[in-house]
Amino acid sequence: MSAPLTSLDRPNSYIGRSVPRPNAKRLLAGRGRYVSDLRLPRMLHAAFLRSPHAHARIVAINTDEARTLEGVHLVATGGDLAKICTPWIGTLDHFKGMTSAPQLPLPLDRVVWAGQAVVAVVAESRAIAEDALELIEVDYEDLPVVVDIDSAREAGGPLVNPGSANNTCFRSQLDNGTVDDAFANAAHVVEEEFSFGRHTAVTLEPRAIVADYDPAAGMLTVHHATQTPYQFQDLYSRHYGIAEARVRVIATDIGGSFGMKLHVYHEDMAVVGLSILLGRPVKYVADRIESFVSDIHARDHRVRARMALDSRGEILAMDVLDLTSIGAFSTYPRTSVVEGNQVIRLIGAPYRFKNYRATLEVIFQNKVQTSQYRAVGHPIACAVTERLVDLAAAKLGLDPFAIRAQNVIADDAYPQTSPTGYRFEALSHQACLKRLHELMNYGALRVEQADLRKRSVYRGIGIATFVEITNPSPAFYGVGGARISSQDGAILSLTPSGEVRCLISVTEQGQGTEAIISQIVADQLGLAQEHVKVITGDTEVTPHGGATWACRGAGIGGETALQAARALKRNILEIAALILQEQPSALDIIDGEVVDAGTRNQRLPIAEIARIAYFRSDTLPPGTQAQLTVSHHFAPQGYPFAFTNGIQGCSLEVDVETGFVKLLKHFIVEDCGRVINPMLVDEQLRGGIVQGLGAALFEECRYSETGQLMNGSLADYLVPMPMEMPDIVIAHVETPTADTELGAKGVGEAGTAAASACVLNAVNDALAPFGATINAVPITPARVLKALKRF
């Protein structure tokens, strides 16, 4: 017996199919082309002298000896680059009242974090440049250092930016409803103060850039390991005063990015300037220590939150204060307040309640900047919400599944607007909860837990519901004045041999962007996937667009490709109709052949149409202009964001003697709308979860009292390794967005969003028999033992 035919049985049906990534073969053979691999003729290498102080005045810099070292071509200080580069300020207009000091590639007279680049050396090799750094003398005069958030907020305390009134970057409040009344009348109130450590992306390939300024052509080419080449084209053009069309940014293979490689870094801006000053290609690749002290960090929040419930366990209200430390500057051009803003807007998002109040305070201190890193704000919002829900469940004697089932917004109650102002088109919390319950075999896990407890084995089960922001519209950055595109563009050409070339503005960092774009184009055009070549990441070649960040690659990039492919198909069929003396509507394309739409009888290969159009246009009717290249742009309309949702669960074991947590199994039910390539989606989820689990248990950028980063190496800063990570079970619910034909939403942050929350709930579940609780992430053995009063 054969199963009924599905859309996947159609020829060339690639949407929804787990096909491998064509570009992965190259990477597997060691033929990646990462920026760190690049070597250009006459290329020089940059290295930076970094500040040993977290806050100091630069009194004098002596570079005389360094300049005379053989092989050194240039030693540049802040003043040298300030002559050619205009300063930048990391604020956005729609964050009313936010401030941040102007920044330059290298500082003029003051350093504001330990590790800040102060002097640049360009030499024939990186080693010689580093030798020269040792010959540079800088006189510093120590200034008071602001390290922890409490002292940063103290009135009259030291200032990160002398001259400003205080250390506040931004303050904002949401107040929706009658929060005080709701708490006054509540049957139950739960309350907790949370702290979330600073952590950082740790891409396996550090930041890398090769800037190549050609003075004769007045042309700047930058090979830049970034997700967002168009953004950098704009920035290099404006800050160095080079016409945009003469700035080319190429982002080929990127060794991991996760949001970290889309911010402006001082060294990267400096390298562009150094290349302009020298008229030669200059390369800079951060080493691992430099990555730790100068890549953006993220999270670092302290949140006080309470939740009011009625006697049956209905959530009535939430009241939140989020304090977040962002370092000495707000990043450019996306700012460092987006994370806090998302924390206060995503808290409580899965639940049906009306009264919400939140205050956000974003504070400067003498540390490296924090900014957008995978799942911006989500893990914090999710952990705060889900921990309070668990605390409420415990107080009311409800099961964690039961209290969530009772309070999540019903699947048939959409569209909905959250108390924080987010508009949800359609989410599926109820379906996901149900599915997770089965997937985990929850009943059996609880039985096993109870049995093991009798033998002093302490297992914990945790679940966490989440909402993820994807497909951001211009409401995200555009309205704030940032020149960051929310639209994407595609250029599709039929080649003379009947293949298709697709230039697209969404970029590839290993998620499989190129694979899914070729799937969509092949599917829509009726071609074999191997006949579609996708090209990304070169501003000179690919059309302008937002590129891949904030989970917009599939939802926005994919829709762009789909619409472009449909336009090219219309054009091909119009010419075919002329040749075949048919109506275009009577024709279709299957496997690269024009066929009769009804009978599927083959009529003509599209290669033949291309041949005629390109080489024998004289045989086409007079006036025919064969348009076998189409260019198409698409910007999201309708809902400002395509929100996705899901739920994670985990099972773990806490060793109450040592404080070690062993992850046993992790589960996720996720709804990202239309799934284009299930295998790639699942691997995105797994990768995201593992990053979230790292944050939950291991990762923390630790600073000394004087503002020194204490664990800036891969031996000291722990990232998850295979041995500690569990197998991850995945299931899907599909609620496509009706805003696009494709219906896809994002998935890249979903794994990270709820992993910490899940582990936090599970560890607390495991510790319940001891009456011990944990409210800080990462959950280190020391914190567990402290909670158990054994340390």
């Binding site: 491998p20 990534r21 992965a24 073969k25 990477l27 597997l28 053979a29 060691g30 033929r31 990646g32 990462y34 760190s36 691999d37 070597r39 000896e65 005379t68 070292l69 053989e70 092989g71 080693a127 030798d131 010959l135 992306a201 740790v202 891409t203 396996l204 390939e205 550090p206 293979d253 990127i254 060794g255 991991g256 990015s257 996760f258 080493d287 691992r288 960092q509 290993g510 998620q511 499989g512 295998m679 790639l680 691997e683 989820l685 797994r686 990768g687 979860i689 593992v690 990053q691 190496s713 891969l714 031996a715 998850p720 390794m721 295979p722 041995m723 990570m725 197998d727 991850i728 794994g751």
Partner: protein, 174 residues
């Protein structure tokens, strides 16, 4: 010029001639004593398939075969490799010894950005040549010196597991 600079210059200038067999070809390199094997492979020999992620032996991105064993090329000075046989991802690919692993990594999407991948493959190859049928736990353990920041490791474990099983079904050939 001061004496300090002169001695610094001398040190930098002084290079050593080393001979290696890299990916089956005899090569001669002039290297400075401070150059590591990964520098020599990537910069001098332009074999950029070997990556550097930490340069301190923690991440495994730089694994190559040195005289048949997987070693961290960031922890070996180039001069120490004088007279050795080195196989990098490029050579191991050409010789075909990684073909099954590469095919299975591809099929299973056991890589994303691909930066960790050459090191993963070198390590997986070594594991399978030592242990014909490792358990998933043993695979996870063996890979614990190879960081991957993109995948959740599971696909990598799956791929290695699949190759190990297929080999033992085909008569235990290694």
């Amino acid at each position: 010029m001061s004496g300090f600079e002169d001695s610094l210059l001398d040190e930098v200038d002084e290079t050593v001639r080393i001979r290696l067999v890299v990916n089956g070809r005899k090569v001669v390199c002039e290297v400075a004593p401070r150059h590591t094997l990964v520098d020599c492979l990537r910069d001098t020999l332009e074999l950029t398939g070997t990556h550097a992620g930490c340069e301190m032996g923690a991440c495994g991105a730089c694994l190559v075969q040195l005289d048949g064993r997987a070693v961290h090329s960031c922890l070996v000075f180039a001069v120490q490799a004088d007279g050795a046989t080195v196989n990098t991802i490029e050579g191991l690919t050409e010789s075909g010894v990684l073909a099954e692993l590469q095919a299975e990594f591809h099929r299973r999407n056991a890589l994303q950005c691909g930066f960790c991948t050459p090191g993963m493959l070198v390590n997986a190859h070594e594991l399978l040549s030592r242990v014909a049928q490792p358990s998933r736990e043993e695979i996870r353990d063996a890979l614990s010196g190879n960081y991957c920041r993109c995948t959740g490791y599971e696909a990598i474990i799956d791929a290695i597991d699949t190759v190990a099983k297929a080999r033992s079904e085909n008569g235990g050939a290694t």
